[in-house]
């Protein structure tokens, strides 16, 4: 009885979500303008990235500060195979899977030397790895020009689905749909796939093994889990999602350079996970969306607000924006360390920890 009701409710929620997501760009486009659809497109990319990193950090408990490297691998794969740089123009259904595959291989490449490391040590080595990839991209322009160095790669092919280029506005019945609309649906479709992948992995034999690894690696080994393989699998599958997002990013921007793949980006994605609710897919999605959108909202608000209240700009809006943003993160972590939308399990962990601390102190 109640169960049937529950499923009905779920189906209802699902349908509402589907409709909202389907019409979202039209609502946003007509109220806030196309630049905001662009921001939402980016939010979807970050959702994919955050879900990928969440496999490594949230599920398997391996702190990775170089995750952006896999985004870079996916992006450069797409760019090199679909731009005038080498004169190659392979279609997206080859370049994106290939980028994902390369990213996964890089995941294993990173994972192998760090198998024995945990916690802070792991974080530092992965941080170094991320920087190494970026520096490679920066310097692989001589003696043979592969990546075009700091200038980056320009004029990257937009995604072309059966003759329909997502890079140009689409004319339908008198109205014109801007490129940002088309990319929105492309990104949405792939985001849904990544969500399904992450969710199914979490609720599987593999997902259980990751949790076991995270909670007690010695007990996990003693239960017959092959620690090396299960860690490498986490790195590879996390990197895979990062690689997909990277390819999409390259096509969407039309231009990439090593600058887009710095340490700050890695930290930002980690912050999305922690702020949203580590290991909890809905939380991670929320974290990614909020952290992509919040700085943009601040951008739109701070300047005009200062003008209104003080009649002039007191603080450079760009500085004020990041200042407020950082402050918001700090406050958030103090007030809700378990994240905005934690899993029940994690919430309980934090409550237990609080209780233990209270008993001690």
């Amino acid at each position: 009885m109640t169960k049937a009701l529950d499923t009905n409710k779920k189906v209802g929620l699902f349908l509402i979500a589907a409709v909202v997501l389907a019409v979202l760009p039209f609502i946003v486009g007509n109220t806030l303008g196309n630049s905001w659809i662009r921001i939402i497109d980016f939010a979807l990319l970050y959702v994919m990235l955050a879900l990928g990193l969440n496999i490594v950090v949230g599920f398997a408990g391996l702190l990775d500060l170089g995750f952006i490297a896999f985004y870079a691998v996916g992006a450069y794969t797409y760019a090199l195979l679909g731009s005038p740089h080498f004169g190659l123009h392979l279609p997206f259904y080859i370049t994106i899977p290939l980028g994902a595959l390369f990213a996964a291989l890089f995941g294993i490449l990173l994972g192998t030397p760090v198998l024995r490391l945990k916690g802070d040590y792991l974080a530092i080595v992965t941080l170094g790895f991320g920087e190494i990839i970026r520096i490679f991209m920066n310097n692989l322009n001589a003696p043979v020009n592969i990546t075009n160095g700091p200038q980056g790669i320009n004029l990257i092919d937009p995604i072309n689905v059966g003759g329909l280029s997502l890079g140009k506005a689409l004319q339908v019945g008198g109205t014109s749909l801007n490129s940002v609309y088309l990319y929105y649906y492309m990104f949405l479709a792939l985001t849904v796939l990544v969500v399904i992948m992450a969710w199914r992995l979490q609720h599987s034999r593999i997902g259980r093994a990751w949790v076991a690894l995270r909670e007690d690696d010695i007990a996990a080994a003693a239960m017959g889990i092959n620690i090396r393989n299960i860690k490498l699998l986490a790195f590879a599958l996390g990197a895979l999602s990062g690689g997909v997002a990277g390819g999409l990013f390259a096509s969407f921007q039309g231009f990439i350079s090593p600058e887009s793949f710095g340490l700050l980006e890695s930290i930002m994605i980690l912050a999305m996970i922690v702020l949203g609710g580590m290991g909890h897919i809905p939380g991670v999605i929320l974290g990614a969306v909020v952290l992509t959108i919040a700085p943009e909202v601040l951008r739109d608000v701070i300047g005009p607000l200062q003008m209104k209240t003080f009649g002039r700009m007191l603080i450079d809006p760009e500085n004020a924006r990041m200042l407020l943003f950082g402050l918001a993160l700090v406050v958030m972590m103090l007030v809700r360390p378990e994240g905005m939308w934690p899993s029940k399990r994690r919430k309980a962990e934090f409550e237990d920890a609080k209780e233990a601390a209270a008993q001690k102190g």
């Binding site: 034999r205 007690d216 080994a221 017959g224």
Partner: protein, 256 residues
Amino acid sequence: MAEALLKIEGIHKRFGGLHALNNVGLTINKGEVYGLIGPNGAGKTTLFNVLTGLYQPDEGTFTFNGRDLFRAKPHVVVSAGIARTFQNIRLFAEMTALENVMVGRHIRSKAGALGAVLRNKGTMEEERSIRSKAMELLAYVGIADVAEERARNLSYGHQRRLEIARALATEPMLLALDEPAAGMNPRETDELKGLMHKIRDGGVTILLIEHDVKLMMDLCDRIAVLDYGKKIAEGVPEVVRKDPKVIEAYLGAAHA
């Protein structure tokens, strides 16, 4: 003539200057309950860690059920058929009791990432069988009613049982229990004894570390005594108990 299941010879394990296992050899036969006793710090847990692949021995030989397991990785040891519990309980604290046992099924199931994502028929069936087998094991050790409780919230006695269920989930031929009765009251200890009889009668060989001498005398077919990393005695309980070297080791430890 009894059939040997596990055989080690000349095992050495050193931690820096400490010779934790010094030329230890022993043979465990199929179907027996083999006890391991010795004063604190004698090397009992270290031997367990060597037998389960958590520590790499420096020297020696180690065969199990006809397989060479010298310096084998833990997951190889488990798949060969040795499972263990820990002296200081190591459950997956935030997982439910049921999930803990389900993790124990890992080595006896095979769905990979692709199966998990595609959810094909084979994977779904395997997942169902993992769950039902885990449920069965919880019932077997007598804690089916707390299946959905998080492990950390279970009582001490239940946690010990859960660890046994999780180890049994790997379908071991040899179950190694490191002080399973530690911290239990006499009633719980008695129930535990019943459980161990049941496991042994189910065809699983047991290697048992315990300080409770009476329990060991009741349960074990044979007992080995470790002292300062050396095996100083081995045999049926009545004989071992009267061995002067054993008495000396325990008295010495008591006087120290």
